[in-house]
Subunit: 311 residues, 2 copies
C-alpha cells in the first residue's frame, strides 16, 4: 500500500533551497489549492487573505512574529497551526559569540593592529578558555548552542535563565535563576549576554556588575544593546576594570560615528551582523526540512506559535 | 618485596611543577649519573654531550624537534629512547587555530579596523563554519583536537595524514594520505596547516595550491612558517585569490618589521604565541607526569621520536 504524498505549497518566492528542503523531507510540492501546508518565505503583506480549507499548517519565515500579530492572519484562520522560525537562527549567533570571545581571550584585536613581532610582550597576555568560567546569561536557544561550542574547549559554564531550571550538560557547573544574577559576577571569568530584551533585563550590566569582573574578563553581547549600560562599559574598558568587550549589538544602535567604542583597543564592534540574510536563508531551509519531516510523520512541529502568549 | 625506585633526572631547570610531575607519578628525582631517564626542560644548546650509560629515556620539552635533528644528539645516543612533547600543547594550539579561523570567517579584522556601522556592507561578507569544509593538513595531536572543536560548529573536515589511515569521527568526511594532498585544494573552503616541518612538507602550500582555493578561503598556519611559500601567500592575499590568512608562524620568523604581511587587511599575524610559556609549562608538566607513569609501569611512551621519519 502506497500512502498518498503529502502536498506542500511554497510562496511567495520559490527558491531552490526551500524546494529541496520540502521535497528532500518526504513531501511533494503542490499548488496552494491542493496543499495541506504552506511554507511562507515572506512577510504578512502578500499573504493570502483566505487560505484554502485544506491547509492545516503554515510555516513562517521570521523568528519574531510581532508583525504578524498586528494583522488578522491568525484570527482569520483559527484551525490552522502556524509555526515561526524561532530558534532556527541560534547557531549562527552562537558561532559569532564564540568568535568574539576567542578573539578576546587570544588578544586578536591587539595582534591585528600590531606591526612588529613583540613576542615576549604578547606571551603573558594570551589566555585560554580551557578551565575558564563563562557565564551564559540567558540560556535559551542561543545560549544552549553556545554551551555546545564551549564544551570541547574545556570551558565551564554558569548558565542563567529565568526559571533556574537546571541545564543538564557536563559543561554547565550550575544553572542560576535570573533573580540571583548578582551571584554570577565575582565567580566568572567571562560573560556572554544572550537574554531577551524586556523591561526586566534593561541595563542588566552596569558599573557595579562590571566592577566585580576581572582585568582579563571579556563581556560579549549578541542579544540587545540596552542590556548593557554603554557609558559604564566604556569606563570599564578604558580603565582596565575588564579585559574587553565584543558587541554585536549596541546602545545606541546603530553606534554613531565618533562613539568612543570605535576607538577603544579592547572593544570589537560588529554591526548586528551575527545572523546576516544569506545565513538566515540556509538556517530557515534547515528548519523547513525538519518541520516538513515532522509534519509528514505526524509529529509535533517545532516553534508552534502560541496565540495566547503572543509569540 | 619492594622494587627499586625509578630514578629520573631533571634539567637544566628544576621547576617545582616538573619535580611534582615526576615524584607524583611514582618516580624519584635523582642526579644524572644514577638516573634511568632524563626530563630535559630546555633546548639542545646545553644538553649533555654524552649521557651516562644508565640513561634509557630522554623526555624533551618541545613538540617540534627539527632543531634537535640538526645536532648530533640522537646519533650520539642510538640506544636511548627520545620522546618529544608532541601533542602535549595540542589543545592550546588548536584553540588558537579556531580563534584565527573564526576571526577570518566572521571578518573580525575588518570589523576591528572599522570606525562606523556599515551594516549592509558587512552583511554579505559574514561567513559561517556551519556546512563549511575545513582541510586539516596534518591530523596529528593538534589536528585531532581541532576536529573536536570544529564538530559542534557543524564544519566538515577533510583530514590529511601521512598514512591516510581513516580518522573515525563523524565530522571527518574523508581522511586522505599526504601523497594525495593535491586533491584537497579544490574541495575545501578553508585550510588549517598542522603538519610537522620536514623536508617533505617544505612549502607544501605555494602559488598552485593557493590558486585552487576560493575567494572566501582562509588559510591558518599554526605549525611551521616554512610550510607555506610566504611570497605566494602575500600575492594571494593581495589579489583576493583567497579570503585571508591567520598565521601563528611565519617564514621568515620572527617576521621582520616592514614585511607586507603586517599591513595586509586580511592577514592576522600572531607571534608564535599560540602556546605561551604560562600555558606550555602546565601542559608539559601534564605530559611529563603521564610519560613518567608509563615509564615506571614499563608501558609504551607517548610521542617517541621516530629517527627515520624525522619527528
Amino acid at each position: 500500500m502506497t500512502s498518498e504524498p503529502v502536498r506542500i505549497a511554497l510562496g511567495p518566492k520559490h527558491s531552490d533551497l526551500l524546494r529541496q528542503a520540502i521535497t528532500g523531507s518526504g513531501a511533494t510540492l503542490s499548488d496552494l489549492d491542493r496543499a495541506r501546508a504552506l511554507v511562507w518565505d515572506g512577510g504578512p503583506a502578500g499573504f493570502p487573505r483566505r487560505l484554502p480549507a485544506g491547509i492545516e499548517w503554515v510555516q513562517l519565515f521570521s523568528a519574531g512574529v510581532e508583525e504578524w500579530f498586528e494583522t488578522d492572519v491568525f484570527d482569520a484562520h483559527p484551525d490552522v497551526v502556524f509555526t515561526s522560525a524561532a530558534g532556527a537562527f541560534a547557531r549562527s549567533v552562537a558561532e559569532h559569540a564564540l568568535a568574539l570571545l576567542l578573539a578576546g581571550v587570544r588578544h586578536l584585536p591587539e595582534h591585528i593592529r600590531a606591526s612588529s613581532w613583540r613576542q615576549t610582550e604578547f606571551f603573558p597576555r594570551i589566555g585560554t578558555l580551557r578551565g575558564a568560567t563563562v557565564a551564559v546569561v540567558g540560556a535559551g536557544g542561543i545560549g544552549r548552542e553556545l554551551i555546545e561550542l564551549l564544551a570541547p574547549l574545556g570551558a565551564r559554564v554558569i548558565a542563567v535563565n529565568r526559571s533556574g531550571r537546571a541545564i543538564d550538560h557536563p559543561t554547565v557547573l550550575e544553572t542560576i535563576p535570573a533573580e540571583r544574577l548578582s551571584e554570577v559576577w565575582p565567580r566568572t571569568d567571562h560573560v556572554v549576554v544572550a537574554a531577551p530584551a524586556t523591561a526586566a533585563t534593561r541595563q542588566l550590566i552596569g558599573k557595579d556588575e562590571l566592577s566585580q569582573l576581572r582585568p582579563h574578563s571579556w563581556v560579549i553581547n549578541i542579544a540587545r544593546g540596552r542590556l548593557i549600560d554603554t557609558d559604564a562599559l566604556v569606563d570599564a574598558l578604558r580603565d582596565g576594570t575588564i579585559g574587553g568587550a565584543g558587541l554585536d549589538v549596541t546602545d545606541p544602535e546603530p553606534l554613531p560615528d565618533g562613539h568612543p567604542l570605535w576607538d577603544l583597543p579592547n572593544a570589537i564592534v560588529t554591526p548586528h551582523d551575527s545572523n546576516p540574510p544569506q545565513l538566515r536563508t540556509v538556517a530557515f531551509a534547515e528548519r523547513v526540512a525538519d518541520n516538513v519531516a515532522r509534519f509528514v510523520a505526524g509529529r509535533e512541529l517545532n516553534a508552534r506559535i502560541d496565540l495566547a502568549a503572543g509569540y
